[in-house]
Protein backbone atom coordinates (compact mmCIF):
# COMPACT_ATOMS: atom_id res chain seq x y z
CA UNK A 1 0.00 0.00 0.00
CA UNK A 2 1.47 3.36 -1.02
CA UNK A 3 1.63 6.30 1.36
CA UNK A 4 -1.46 8.52 1.13
CA UNK A 5 -2.04 12.14 2.08
CA UNK A 6 -5.48 13.54 2.80
CA UNK A 7 -6.73 17.10 2.88
CA UNK A 8 -10.05 18.74 3.64
CA UNK A 9 -11.63 20.30 0.55
CA UNK A 10 -11.47 24.05 1.32
CA UNK A 11 -14.78 24.65 -0.50
CA UNK A 12 -17.00 22.75 1.95
CA UNK A 13 -18.81 23.98 5.06
CA UNK A 14 -18.41 22.01 8.28
CA UNK A 15 -19.54 22.07 11.90
CA UNK A 16 -19.42 19.67 14.84
CA UNK A 17 -22.82 18.57 16.13
CA UNK A 18 -22.79 16.32 19.18
CA UNK A 19 -19.26 15.11 18.47
CA UNK A 20 -19.99 14.30 14.84
CA UNK A 21 -19.04 16.47 11.88
CA UNK A 22 -21.71 17.83 9.55
CA UNK A 23 -20.27 18.63 6.15
CA UNK A 24 -22.00 20.47 3.33
CA UNK A 25 -20.62 19.88 -0.12
CA UNK A 26 -19.46 22.98 -1.95
CA UNK A 27 -20.42 21.32 -5.22
CA UNK A 28 -24.14 20.69 -4.74
CA UNK A 29 -24.99 21.55 -1.08
CA UNK A 30 -25.42 17.86 -0.20
CA UNK A 31 -25.17 17.30 3.53
CA UNK A 32 -23.08 14.52 5.07
CA UNK A 33 -22.51 13.48 8.65
CA UNK A 34 -19.34 11.75 9.77
CA UNK A 35 -19.20 9.36 12.72
CA UNK A 36 -16.63 9.98 15.45
CA UNK A 37 -13.85 8.05 13.73
CA UNK A 38 -14.43 9.79 10.42
CA UNK A 39 -14.61 13.12 12.24
CA UNK A 40 -11.12 12.57 13.68
CA UNK A 41 -9.85 11.68 10.22
CA UNK A 42 -11.45 14.84 8.80
CA UNK A 43 -10.00 17.09 11.49
CA UNK A 44 -6.54 15.59 11.02
CA UNK A 45 -6.54 15.82 7.23
CA UNK A 46 -4.05 18.68 6.88
CA UNK A 47 -2.54 17.55 3.58
CA UNK A 48 0.93 16.98 5.03
CA UNK A 49 0.44 14.26 7.65
CA UNK A 50 0.41 10.79 6.01
CA UNK A 51 -2.81 8.85 6.47
CA UNK A 52 -0.99 6.01 8.23
CA UNK A 53 0.38 8.44 10.83
CA UNK A 54 -3.11 9.92 11.39
CA UNK A 55 -4.42 6.40 11.97
CA UNK A 56 -1.51 5.48 14.23
CA UNK A 57 -1.49 8.68 16.31
CA UNK A 58 -5.14 9.82 16.33
CA UNK A 59 -7.44 6.90 15.60
CA UNK A 60 -5.83 3.79 17.14
CA UNK A 61 -5.31 5.36 20.60
CA UNK A 62 -8.96 6.46 20.61
CA UNK A 63 -10.55 3.23 19.43
CA UNK A 64 -9.69 -0.40 20.12
CA UNK A 65 -8.75 -1.39 16.55
CA UNK A 66 -5.95 -3.26 14.80
CA UNK A 67 -3.65 -0.70 13.10
CA UNK A 68 -3.64 -2.54 9.75
CA UNK A 69 -7.41 -2.89 9.70
CA UNK A 70 -7.83 0.71 10.84
CA UNK A 71 -5.58 1.96 8.03
CA UNK A 72 -7.49 -0.05 5.45
CA UNK A 73 -10.83 1.32 6.74
CA UNK A 74 -9.44 4.86 6.82
CA UNK A 75 -8.26 4.61 3.23
CA UNK A 76 -11.65 3.30 2.11
CA UNK A 77 -13.33 6.16 3.95
CA UNK A 78 -10.96 8.77 2.52
CA UNK A 79 -11.61 7.55 -1.01
CA UNK A 80 -15.37 7.68 -0.42
CA UNK A 81 -15.15 11.23 0.93
CA UNK A 82 -13.01 12.16 -2.05
CA UNK A 83 -15.66 10.78 -4.41
CA UNK A 84 -18.07 13.32 -2.91
CA UNK A 85 -15.44 16.07 -3.31
CA UNK A 86 -15.36 16.80 0.40
CA UNK A 87 -11.82 15.46 0.82
CA UNK A 88 -8.75 15.38 -1.42
CA UNK A 89 -6.35 12.44 -1.52
CA UNK A 90 -2.92 12.18 -3.10
CA UNK A 91 0.25 10.12 -2.97
CA UNK A 92 2.14 13.39 -2.49
CA UNK A 93 1.69 16.00 0.25
CA UNK A 94 -1.14 18.38 -0.70
CA UNK A 95 0.00 22.01 -0.45
CA UNK A 96 -2.59 24.49 0.82
CA UNK A 97 -2.89 27.23 -1.76
CA UNK A 98 -4.92 30.42 -1.48
CA UNK A 99 -7.79 30.55 0.99
CA UNK A 100 -7.66 27.75 3.55
CA UNK A 101 -10.45 27.31 6.11
CA UNK A 102 -10.01 25.48 9.38
CA UNK A 103 -11.24 22.02 10.32
CA UNK A 104 -14.62 23.20 11.64
CA UNK A 105 -15.52 23.67 15.27
Amino acid sequence: MSRLYVSRNPRVAARILDGEMMIMSGRDSSLFTLNRTATILWQSADGVTPLERIVEQRICPEFDVEPAQALQDAETLARELASHEIMQISEEPIPQSGFSPGAGR
Binding site: A13, R15, D18, S29, F99, A103
Partner: protein
Protein backbone atom coordinates in the same frame (compact mmCIF):
# COMPACT_ATOMS: atom_id res chain seq x y z
CA UNK B 1 -35.96 6.18 5.53
CA UNK B 2 -34.81 9.41 7.11
CA UNK B 3 -32.60 11.76 5.12
CA UNK B 4 -29.39 13.32 6.41
CA UNK B 5 -30.97 16.78 6.64
CA UNK B 6 -33.91 15.47 8.67
CA UNK B 7 -31.53 13.53 10.90
CA UNK B 8 -29.36 16.60 11.50
CA UNK B 9 -32.40 18.80 12.11
CA UNK B 10 -33.83 16.32 14.62
CA UNK B 11 -30.52 16.23 16.46
CA UNK B 12 -30.25 20.03 16.47
CA UNK B 13 -33.78 20.31 17.88
CA UNK B 14 -32.97 17.80 20.60
CA UNK B 15 -29.74 19.58 21.53
CA UNK B 16 -31.17 23.10 21.05
CA UNK B 17 -28.61 24.09 18.42
CA UNK B 18 -29.22 26.97 15.97
CA UNK B 19 -28.28 25.49 12.60
CA UNK B 20 -28.86 28.61 10.52
CA UNK B 21 -28.78 32.34 11.20
CA UNK B 22 -29.59 35.32 9.02
CA UNK B 23 -27.39 38.26 9.94
CA UNK B 24 -28.28 41.63 8.45
CA UNK B 25 -25.05 43.60 8.47
CA UNK B 26 -26.67 46.89 7.40
CA UNK B 27 -30.09 48.36 6.74
CA UNK B 28 -28.56 50.98 4.43
CA UNK B 29 -29.39 50.42 0.78
CA UNK B 30 -28.67 51.82 -2.65
CA UNK B 31 -32.16 50.97 -3.85
CA UNK B 32 -35.49 52.22 -2.52
CA UNK B 33 -37.81 49.31 -3.24
CA UNK B 34 -41.42 50.34 -2.85
CA UNK B 35 -42.29 47.22 -0.82
CA UNK B 36 -39.26 47.29 1.52
CA UNK B 37 -40.01 47.04 5.25
CA UNK B 38 -36.73 48.53 6.50
CA UNK B 39 -35.69 51.89 7.93
CA UNK B 40 -32.56 52.58 5.85
CA UNK B 41 -30.98 55.06 8.26
CA UNK B 42 -27.96 53.82 10.20
CA UNK B 43 -28.83 53.82 13.92
CA UNK B 44 -25.51 52.38 15.02
CA UNK B 45 -24.52 49.27 13.08
CA UNK B 46 -22.22 46.73 14.69
CA UNK B 47 -18.56 47.45 14.00
CA UNK B 48 -16.28 45.02 12.19
CA UNK B 49 -14.79 43.63 15.44
CA UNK B 50 -18.30 43.21 16.90
CA UNK B 51 -19.46 41.25 13.85
CA UNK B 52 -16.34 39.06 13.76
CA UNK B 53 -16.76 38.27 17.47
CA UNK B 54 -20.43 37.44 16.88
CA UNK B 55 -19.44 35.06 14.07
CA UNK B 56 -16.98 33.37 16.45
CA UNK B 57 -19.81 32.96 18.97
CA UNK B 58 -22.11 31.56 16.32
CA UNK B 59 -19.51 28.96 15.32
CA UNK B 60 -19.17 27.94 18.97
CA UNK B 61 -22.98 27.70 19.24
CA UNK B 62 -23.07 25.25 16.30
CA UNK B 63 -24.37 27.48 13.50
CA UNK B 64 -23.55 25.95 10.09
CA UNK B 65 -25.35 28.25 7.63
CA UNK B 66 -24.84 32.01 7.83
CA UNK B 67 -26.89 34.17 5.50
CA UNK B 68 -25.63 37.74 5.19
CA UNK B 69 -28.33 40.15 4.15
CA UNK B 70 -29.50 43.73 4.54
CA UNK B 71 -30.04 46.46 3.34
CA UNK B 72 -27.41 46.12 0.69
CA UNK B 73 -24.50 44.12 2.05
CA UNK B 74 -21.97 45.49 -0.46
CA UNK B 75 -22.37 48.95 1.07
CA UNK B 76 -20.26 47.65 3.98
CA UNK B 77 -16.60 48.15 3.17
CA UNK B 78 -15.75 45.20 5.41
CA UNK B 79 -18.03 42.71 3.63
CA UNK B 80 -15.21 40.57 2.29
CA UNK B 81 -13.45 40.62 5.67
CA UNK B 82 -16.68 39.33 7.24
CA UNK B 83 -17.19 36.65 4.57
CA UNK B 84 -13.57 35.55 4.80
CA UNK B 85 -13.79 35.26 8.58
CA UNK B 86 -16.97 33.20 8.30
CA UNK B 87 -15.47 30.92 5.69
CA UNK B 88 -12.31 30.49 7.74
CA UNK B 89 -14.63 29.14 10.45
CA UNK B 90 -16.15 26.82 7.80
CA UNK B 91 -19.61 28.38 7.71
CA UNK B 92 -21.84 27.72 4.74
CA UNK B 93 -22.14 31.37 3.64
CA UNK B 94 -25.10 32.62 1.63
CA UNK B 95 -25.63 36.19 0.48
CA UNK B 96 -28.72 38.24 -0.35
CA UNK B 97 -28.01 41.30 -2.46
CA UNK B 98 -29.33 43.51 -5.25
CA UNK B 99 -25.89 42.93 -6.86
CA UNK B 100 -25.58 46.52 -8.11
CA UNK B 101 -22.02 46.69 -6.76
CA UNK B 102 -20.86 43.28 -8.01
CA UNK B 103 -18.42 43.36 -10.91
CA UNK B 104 -16.02 40.77 -12.28
CA UNK B 105 -13.53 41.31 -9.43
CA UNK B 106 -16.13 40.91 -6.67
CA UNK B 107 -17.54 37.79 -8.34
CA UNK B 108 -14.08 36.23 -8.53
CA UNK B 109 -13.47 37.00 -4.85
CA UNK B 110 -16.76 35.32 -3.88
CA UNK B 111 -15.71 32.29 -5.90
CA UNK B 112 -12.33 32.17 -4.11
CA UNK B 113 -14.13 32.22 -0.77
CA UNK B 114 -16.47 29.41 -1.85
CA UNK B 115 -19.67 31.29 -1.05
CA UNK B 116 -22.47 28.75 -1.33
CA UNK B 117 -25.25 30.84 -2.83
CA UNK B 118 -26.01 34.41 -3.88
CA UNK B 119 -29.65 35.46 -4.03
CA UNK B 120 -30.37 38.48 -6.23
CA UNK B 121 -33.72 40.29 -6.30
CA UNK B 122 -35.13 40.59 -9.82
CA UNK B 123 -38.68 41.95 -9.94
CA UNK B 124 -39.28 41.88 -13.68
CA UNK B 125 -37.61 41.17 -17.00
CA UNK B 126 -38.80 44.62 -18.13
CA UNK B 127 -36.53 47.50 -17.06
CA UNK B 128 -39.44 49.90 -16.77
CA UNK B 129 -41.15 47.61 -14.23
CA UNK B 130 -38.08 46.47 -12.24
CA UNK B 131 -36.66 49.99 -12.05
CA UNK B 132 -40.03 51.43 -11.01
CA UNK B 133 -39.98 49.04 -8.02
CA UNK B 134 -36.35 49.69 -7.01
CA UNK B 135 -36.69 53.40 -7.86
CA UNK B 136 -33.18 53.24 -9.35
CA UNK B 137 -32.96 53.81 -13.10
CA UNK B 138 -30.79 51.21 -14.81
CA UNK B 139 -30.92 48.84 -11.84
CA UNK B 140 -32.21 45.81 -13.79
CA UNK B 141 -29.41 46.11 -16.32
CA UNK B 142 -26.79 46.34 -13.56
CA UNK B 143 -28.24 43.44 -11.53
CA UNK B 144 -28.40 41.18 -14.59
CA UNK B 145 -24.86 42.11 -15.53
CA UNK B 146 -23.72 41.12 -12.03
CA UNK B 147 -25.60 37.82 -12.23
CA UNK B 148 -23.68 37.02 -15.41
CA UNK B 149 -20.38 37.82 -13.65
CA UNK B 150 -21.35 35.48 -10.80
CA UNK B 151 -22.46 32.76 -13.19
CA UNK B 152 -19.17 33.06 -15.09
CA UNK B 153 -17.45 32.16 -11.81
CA UNK B 154 -19.64 29.05 -11.55
CA UNK B 155 -21.33 30.37 -8.41
CA UNK B 156 -24.84 29.29 -7.47
CA UNK B 157 -27.19 32.22 -8.10
CA UNK B 158 -30.89 32.42 -7.26
CA UNK B 159 -33.12 35.05 -8.86
CA UNK B 160 -35.69 36.04 -6.22
CA UNK B 161 -38.93 37.47 -7.54
CA UNK B 162 -41.37 39.09 -5.09
CA UNK B 163 -44.89 38.95 -6.46
CA UNK B 164 -46.67 42.32 -6.33
CA UNK B 165 -49.41 44.15 -8.17
CA UNK B 166 -46.78 46.02 -10.21
CA UNK B 167 -45.09 42.90 -11.58
CA UNK B 168 -47.71 40.17 -11.26
CA UNK B 169 -47.74 39.34 -14.96
CA UNK B 170 -43.96 39.06 -15.22
CA UNK B 171 -42.92 36.12 -13.04
CA UNK B 172 -43.01 33.56 -15.86
CA UNK B 173 -40.74 35.72 -18.02
CA UNK B 174 -38.36 36.22 -15.10
CA UNK B 175 -38.26 32.46 -14.64
CA UNK B 176 -37.48 32.06 -18.36
CA UNK B 177 -34.73 34.65 -18.00
CA UNK B 178 -33.25 32.72 -15.10
CA UNK B 179 -33.26 29.53 -17.15
CA UNK B 180 -31.67 31.35 -20.09
CA UNK B 181 -28.81 32.58 -17.89
CA UNK B 182 -28.58 29.22 -16.12
CA UNK B 183 -29.47 30.27 -12.58
CA UNK B 184 -32.21 29.23 -10.18
CA UNK B 185 -35.52 31.04 -9.64
CA UNK B 186 -37.73 31.53 -6.61
CA UNK B 187 -41.05 33.32 -6.30
CA UNK B 188 -42.27 34.84 -3.04
CA UNK B 189 -45.79 36.22 -2.74
CA UNK B 190 -45.24 37.56 0.80
CA UNK B 191 -45.04 41.27 1.57
CA UNK B 192 -43.79 41.98 5.10
CA UNK B 193 -45.21 44.87 7.15
CA UNK B 194 -42.76 47.67 7.91
CA UNK B 195 -40.60 47.39 11.00
CA UNK B 196 -42.49 50.21 12.73
CA UNK B 197 -45.74 48.25 12.37
CA UNK B 198 -47.02 50.22 9.39
CA UNK B 199 -49.02 47.79 7.26
CA UNK B 200 -49.74 50.12 4.34
CA UNK B 201 -47.25 48.37 2.03
CA UNK B 202 -49.31 45.18 2.26
CA UNK B 203 -51.62 46.79 -0.31
CA UNK B 204 -48.79 46.24 -2.85
CA UNK B 205 -49.25 42.48 -2.56
CA UNK B 206 -50.80 40.39 -5.31
CA UNK B 207 -54.60 40.21 -5.19
CA UNK B 208 -56.57 37.02 -4.51
CA UNK B 209 -57.27 36.32 -8.19
CA UNK B 210 -53.58 36.60 -9.09
CA UNK B 211 -52.57 34.34 -6.21
CA UNK B 212 -55.14 31.75 -7.31
CA UNK B 213 -53.81 31.83 -10.87
CA UNK B 214 -50.16 31.62 -9.75
CA UNK B 215 -50.93 28.64 -7.52
CA UNK B 216 -52.46 26.87 -10.53
CA UNK B 217 -49.45 27.48 -12.75
CA UNK B 218 -47.49 24.24 -12.97
CA UNK B 219 -44.42 26.21 -14.03
CA UNK B 220 -44.35 27.68 -10.52
CA UNK B 221 -45.80 25.00 -8.25
CA UNK B 222 -45.08 21.77 -10.11
CA UNK B 223 -47.94 19.34 -9.50
CA UNK B 224 -50.99 21.63 -9.34
CA UNK B 225 -53.35 18.89 -8.11
CA UNK B 226 -51.04 18.10 -5.22
CA UNK B 227 -50.29 21.74 -4.41
CA UNK B 228 -53.95 22.75 -4.46
CA UNK B 229 -55.32 19.58 -2.86
CA UNK B 230 -58.15 19.85 -0.36
CA UNK B 231 -56.50 19.52 3.07
CA UNK B 232 -56.85 16.21 4.85
CA UNK B 233 -57.77 15.93 8.51
CA UNK B 234 -55.15 17.16 10.93
CA UNK B 235 -53.92 14.15 12.86
CA UNK B 236 -52.81 14.05 16.48
CA UNK B 237 -49.17 14.01 15.38
CA UNK B 238 -49.63 17.22 13.43
CA UNK B 239 -51.14 18.95 16.45
CA UNK B 240 -47.86 18.36 18.28
CA UNK B 241 -45.82 19.79 15.41
CA UNK B 242 -43.81 23.01 15.55
CA UNK B 243 -45.16 25.96 13.54
CA UNK B 244 -41.81 26.59 11.74
CA UNK B 245 -38.07 26.61 12.34
CA UNK B 246 -37.98 30.16 13.79
CA UNK B 247 -36.45 29.97 17.27
CA UNK B 248 -36.09 26.19 16.98
CA UNK B 249 -33.13 25.80 14.61
CA UNK B 250 -32.92 29.28 13.08
CA UNK B 251 -32.87 32.91 14.14
CA UNK B 252 -32.09 36.43 12.93
CA UNK B 253 -29.67 39.13 14.09
CA UNK B 254 -30.11 42.79 13.10
CA UNK B 255 -27.26 45.21 12.25
CA UNK B 256 -27.64 46.59 15.78
CA UNK B 257 -27.12 43.22 17.44
CA UNK B 258 -30.75 42.52 18.29
CA UNK B 259 -31.67 38.85 18.12
CA UNK B 260 -35.10 37.77 16.88
CA UNK B 261 -36.58 34.33 16.14
CA UNK B 262 -36.68 35.24 12.42
CA UNK B 263 -36.27 38.22 10.10
CA UNK B 264 -40.05 38.20 9.79
CA UNK B 265 -40.68 37.78 13.54
CA UNK B 266 -39.71 41.06 15.30
CA UNK B 267 -39.99 39.75 18.87
CA UNK B 268 -36.86 41.06 20.67
CA UNK B 269 -35.09 38.29 22.57
CA UNK B 270 -31.75 39.93 23.47
CA UNK B 271 -28.78 41.87 22.11
CA UNK B 272 -25.37 40.41 21.34
CA UNK B 273 -23.68 43.63 22.45
CA UNK B 274 -24.80 42.86 26.00
CA UNK B 275 -25.01 39.05 26.09
CA UNK B 276 -23.36 36.12 24.37
CA UNK B 277 -25.26 34.85 21.34
CA UNK B 278 -25.56 31.36 22.79
CA UNK B 279 -26.97 32.67 26.08
CA UNK B 280 -29.71 34.56 24.25
CA UNK B 281 -30.43 31.50 22.13
CA UNK B 282 -30.64 29.13 25.09
CA UNK B 283 -32.00 31.27 27.92
CA UNK B 284 -34.08 34.12 26.51
CA UNK B 285 -37.59 33.79 27.93
CA UNK B 286 -39.03 35.11 24.66
CA UNK B 287 -37.10 32.58 22.59
CA UNK B 288 -38.23 29.80 24.92
CA UNK B 289 -41.83 30.96 24.69
CA UNK B 290 -41.68 30.79 20.87
CA UNK B 291 -40.06 27.37 21.20
CA UNK B 292 -42.81 26.07 23.44
CA UNK B 293 -45.65 26.69 20.98
CA UNK B 294 -47.17 23.73 19.18
CA UNK B 295 -49.97 23.65 16.63
CA UNK B 296 -52.43 22.48 19.30
CA UNK B 297 -51.71 25.71 21.26
CA UNK B 298 -53.04 27.94 18.47
CA UNK B 299 -56.63 28.78 19.40
CA UNK B 300 -57.97 29.42 15.89
CA UNK B 301 -55.51 27.57 13.67
CA UNK B 302 -55.56 24.24 15.54
CA UNK B 303 -59.18 23.73 14.51
CA UNK B 304 -58.70 24.99 10.94
CA UNK B 305 -59.13 22.53 8.09
CA UNK B 306 -55.86 23.83 6.62
CA UNK B 307 -53.86 23.18 9.81
CA UNK B 308 -51.88 20.25 8.43
CA UNK B 309 -50.78 21.98 5.22
CA UNK B 310 -50.82 25.70 6.07
CA UNK B 311 -47.68 27.80 5.66
CA UNK B 312 -48.72 29.92 8.67
CA UNK B 313 -45.91 32.31 9.63
CA UNK B 314 -45.85 32.94 13.39
CA UNK B 315 -43.94 36.17 12.77
CA UNK B 316 -46.63 37.58 10.52
CA UNK B 317 -49.18 36.46 13.14
CA UNK B 318 -47.14 38.29 15.79
CA UNK B 319 -47.18 41.43 13.64
CA UNK B 320 -50.96 41.09 13.47
CA UNK B 321 -51.01 41.15 17.26
CA UNK B 322 -50.70 37.57 18.51
CA UNK B 323 -47.95 35.03 17.86
CA UNK B 324 -50.47 32.26 18.59
CA UNK B 325 -53.02 33.78 16.25
CA UNK B 326 -53.57 33.35 12.53
CA UNK B 327 -51.51 35.03 9.83
CA UNK B 328 -54.04 36.53 7.44
CA UNK B 329 -51.63 36.46 4.50
CA UNK B 330 -51.22 32.71 4.94
CA UNK B 331 -54.99 32.26 5.31
CA UNK B 332 -55.34 33.99 1.94
CA UNK B 333 -52.71 31.69 0.44
CA UNK B 334 -54.49 28.58 1.75
CA UNK B 335 -57.77 29.92 0.34
CA UNK B 336 -56.14 30.74 -3.02
CA UNK B 337 -54.74 27.19 -3.20
CA UNK B 338 -57.88 25.29 -2.29
CA UNK B 339 -60.89 27.60 -2.47
CA UNK B 340 -61.71 26.65 1.13
CA UNK B 341 -61.80 29.55 3.61
CA UNK B 342 -59.65 29.19 6.72
CA UNK B 343 -61.09 29.09 10.25
CA UNK B 344 -59.82 32.64 10.68
CA UNK B 345 -61.62 33.82 7.54
CA UNK B 346 -64.85 32.14 8.65
CA UNK B 347 -64.57 33.70 12.11
CA UNK B 348 -64.05 37.12 10.55
CA UNK B 349 -67.11 36.62 8.36
CA UNK B 350 -69.15 35.65 11.40
CA UNK B 351 -67.91 38.67 13.33
CA UNK B 352 -68.77 40.95 10.40
CA UNK B 353 -72.26 39.48 10.21
CA UNK B 354 -72.87 39.86 13.93
CA UNK B 355 -71.61 43.44 13.83
CA UNK B 356 -74.38 44.24 11.35
CA UNK B 357 -76.96 42.98 13.84
CA UNK B 358 -75.84 45.20 16.70
CA UNK B 359 -74.99 48.24 14.63
CA UNK B 360 -75.80 51.41 16.53
CA UNK B 361 -77.15 54.21 14.43
CA UNK B 362 -78.23 57.72 15.29
CA UNK B 363 -81.84 57.77 16.48
CA UNK B 364 -82.84 59.98 13.59
CA UNK B 365 -81.50 57.59 10.95
CA UNK B 366 -83.99 55.16 9.38
CA UNK B 367 -83.47 51.52 10.32
CA UNK B 368 -82.41 49.57 7.24
CA UNK B 369 -84.70 46.82 6.07
CA UNK B 370 -82.01 44.15 6.37
CA UNK B 371 -81.26 44.97 9.99
CA UNK B 372 -84.93 45.34 10.76
CA UNK B 373 -85.59 41.99 9.10
CA UNK B 374 -82.86 40.32 11.05
CA UNK B 375 -84.10 41.75 14.33
CA UNK B 376 -87.68 40.76 13.67
Amino acid sequence: MIGVLEEVTAKALRLNVPLAVQLDITYRCNERCVHCYLDHHDHGEMTTPEILRLIDEMADAGVLTLTLSGGEIFLRKDLFEIVEHARRLTFCVKLKTNALLIGAREAARLRDLAVQEIQVSIYSHRPEVHDSITLVPGSLKRSLSAIRFLKAQDLKVVMANVLMRQNMSDYAAVKDLAEEIGVEFTLDPTITPMMDGNRSILSLGADADTLRDVFRDSVVVGDVDEFCAIPSDTGEANLDSRPCSAGHTTCYVSPYGDVFPCVQFPLPTGNVRRERFVDIWRHSSQMNEVRSIRLKDLPTCSSCSHAGACTRCPGLAYMEGNMRGPSSQDCQKSFARTGIPSANMLAKQQRAASINLVQIRPLSAPVSSSVAGAMA
